[in-house]
Every structure is written in C-alpha cells, then in structure tokens.
Amino acid sequence: MKKEEFILSGLLEQYALGAVTPEESVIVESFLSQYPDLKKELDLIEVALENYALQNAQIPDSSVKQKLMVNLFSDKNTEEQHSNNAKIGGSSSAVAPVVIENKIHSFYKMASAAMLVLLIGSIAFGYYFYNQNEDTRNKLDLVQQSLDEQQKRNIFLTDNLNIVTDKYTQNVVMKGTPQSPDAIAKIFWMKNTGQVYVDFMNLPAPPSGKQYQLWAIIDGKPVDAGMISSEKAAYSIQKMKSFGKADAFAITLENSGGSPTPTMSEMVVISEM
C-alpha cells in the first residue's frame, strides 16, 4: 500500500477510534514509524477525539480513587506491583484477580443483605400465614363438626319423616288420663312390619328415678312394649317393640328400668280401645 492509498483508506481514523483489527493496526503502526507526518496527523485526530470525549466528562465518586490508591499503594502491594509490572508488560490478565475479588466481595455483601431481608420477610410471612392457617383450620373444624351434626340430624329427621309419612303407618293418638290431662303421645305403627314408634315429645319430663314405659294392650292384657328413653331430642320418635296386633297402647310412669306389669295409678296416656 502506498502512503496516498493509506491516507484514503481511512485506516488512520479507525485506528484512532480503536476500531481496527490487530492486522490493520500492524499496517498502521508500520506507516507511523515510516512517516512522521502521519504521526502528526494521528495526533491531531486523537486530540480531536479526546476533546470530544472530554465533553462528556463527569466527576466520579471520590471513593473510587481511595480504593485505587489503597489497592495499589498500601505497603504490601507496592513491591508486588513493581515486580508484576516488570514481568507482565502488556498482559492484562494480572488485573483480573484484584478486581474480581472486589466484585465478588461486594456481590456477596449485597446478596447476603438481600437474603437476610428475604429471610426475615419470609419468616414474618410464614408466621402470619401459619397463624392464619391455624385459625382457618380451627374454624373449618367447627364448621365441619356442625355440618356433621346437621347431617346426622337431617338423616335422623328424614328417617322419622319416612316413618311418619309411610303409607303403611297407622297413627295412634294416646290422650292424657285424668291425672295428667295435658299429656299427649303418639304411636306410629307400621302395619306391614309391625314396627312401633312412639312420639313422646308432649310428655312431661319424668321425675328422677322414674321412666315412662309403653304398653300394648292385647286381648285385654297389657304387654311390655319397651322403655322410653328419658333423653329428649329436638324432635324425635323412638322405636319400641314390634306388634302384629294390639287393641290399644298406653304409657305409665314406672321406676327406672321398668316393671313387668303396669302401675295403673301412674298411667299418663292411653289410646282409645
């Protein structure tokens, strides 16, 4: 390449911009060493670009210089630096350890600070949600419990209703006797199976130690039909002994556990014969 060609190629400008390949920079440098006027031209271009770069100058934080001076000139480093400089010359690899160490250092500082914040945050959240969860679980348990009760009750009532409304069921009303005129009780007697249910909701609560006993009157004789539970649910009928046939039903107040024969003076209700 001749000097004129070289000037026209624009390589000198590209060299100043730092935009040449290693091969191109060998070419440029050989021209520079041959022609002092090209070196002057390069200086002019470089000064122009330096001026341009200066327009964007901004003052960095003073900590940058402090770190650098400590890094390079704190007594231990200095000697190492001297020997390094002599050895490495153009190599850039020697820079890396110091800088990378610094970067990692500040990276870990930042990372651990971030982790700590996250940790505290997650503990707080965890605690909050744990409480929330416990609370919710307790509430859920209560709701579940109440639902179970309702369901049981529902089944129970449905059963009762089925008995009461069954087409085979015969209703037998037992009215109060003269000694307990307000009492009333009902028998639901399923004529197909003989099953007998009693509705004792309108009987006065039995005195302690006493219990109601149901009797079936068959061929003029009272036959034990079972003891009535003293526990009253909201609305319930109780299953008693089964009878294929009976002329009437009656309830007497007996000692707890029942009696083989009814105490006629303690009869509370009786159905029509």
Binding site: E13, S33, A48, N56, P60, D61, V64, S92
Partner: protein, 184 residues
C-alpha cells in the same frame, strides 16, 4: 488536555513506568472524569460504571510498560482501555441479560446523556466547549468511539451503505479536527 502544568506527557509516562505514586494520583485527577464520562456513554448504572472506572485505572497502571508513545497519545490509549473494558462489561452474559432493554435505550438517549455530562463538566469550570458536531456525525463517532462498533457493524445497524458510512466518518473526524483548530 486538562491541567497539564505539573508534568509534560513524556514526564508523566516516564514516572508512571517507574511506578511513581504521585504520578498515578495526578493521572487519576486529570483523567478520571473524562474516562468516567466515556463509561457513562455506554453504561447507565453509576455503581457499575465506577467499578469499570476502577478496573480501567488498574489496567492502565499494570499495562503502562506496554504503552508506546510512537503508537498514539497517552489519553487516547487510556480511553481505548476504558472503552474496551466497558464494552466487555456490557457484553458479559450476566449484564447482557439484565440490561438488554436499557442498552437500546442508552443508544437512543445518548445525546441527552452527553448533554448532562457536559453540563456537569462545565459547572466544574474545567472546560468550556461548544459542541459543533452535527447530529449524524455525532451518532457515528459515538457508535465507533464509545460503543466500539466497526464501520461494517454501524452500516448494518443504521441500514446505511458501508461506503457512505466511511465517507461520513471521515468528514465527522475532519469536523472534530476543525473544532480543535478553531479553538486554538
């Protein structure tokens, strides 16, 4: 050259090659703002830019033996070291991921950033300079000088033929030279 009263460039280089602490301190004082500006042309993150600045001065210090005044001026050599470290940082994988979008924005908003830089510098009273470069030329110089793109890359990036880029680049640099001459 800012404040070149204390040493001539040749003296400064000689002292730096002798690992003179005062010379390094002087070098930093003279050029840190300019080099920081070069980094901020490409990196908007100031903390990261300071890291790169520190790295640049370390590299300048360690490589001063390889600086050859026959091959170019000291400041240009320093700018190129700084510019290359900045580009390496931008191109490093982690940074690329993080800053992908921001870089595009940087290219767009560079003229604005340089305005800020200039104001900051003028405010320090260090240098007063009117930017006489036209916008197209400024973009070309920025892409080549600060972002390190080759003429071919610039041609592709701007969808302008390579021949046009080459001739514009030369007239842009001529314009910059004229600004300096007029000032002198």
């Amino acid at each position: 050259m800012p404040n070149s009263n204390k040493y001539t460039e040749a003296e400064l280089v000689t002292l730096l090659k002798e690992s003179n602490e005062d010379a390094f301190s002087y070098l930093y004082d003279c050029y840190s703002a300019a080099l920081y500006g070069v980094i901020l042309k490409v990196l908007s993150d100031k903390i990261l830019a300071e890291d790169v600045l520190q790295e640049s001065f370390l590299k300048i210090w360690k490589n001063i033996q390889s600086y050859d005044p026959e091959k170019g001026r000291l400041f240009t050599w320093m700018i190129q070291i700084t510019r290359n470290l900045t580009i390496d940082t931008v191109r490093s994988k982690a940074h690329k991921k993080q800053m992908k979008i921001q870089n595009v924005e940087n290219l767009v908003s560079q003229s604005e950033a340089s305005k800020h830089g200039r104001e900051a510098f003028d405010a320090m009273g260090i240098r007063k300079q009117v930017n006489l470069l036209n916008k197209d030329h400024q973009q070309l110089i920025d892409l080549a000088f600060f972002n390190g793109f080759t003429q071919k890359e610039i041609s592709e990036r701007l969808s302008i033929p390579l021949g046009t880029i080459k001739s514009r680049m030369r007239s842009a640099i001529q314009e910059l030279k004229n600004i300096v001459i007029r000032k002198v």
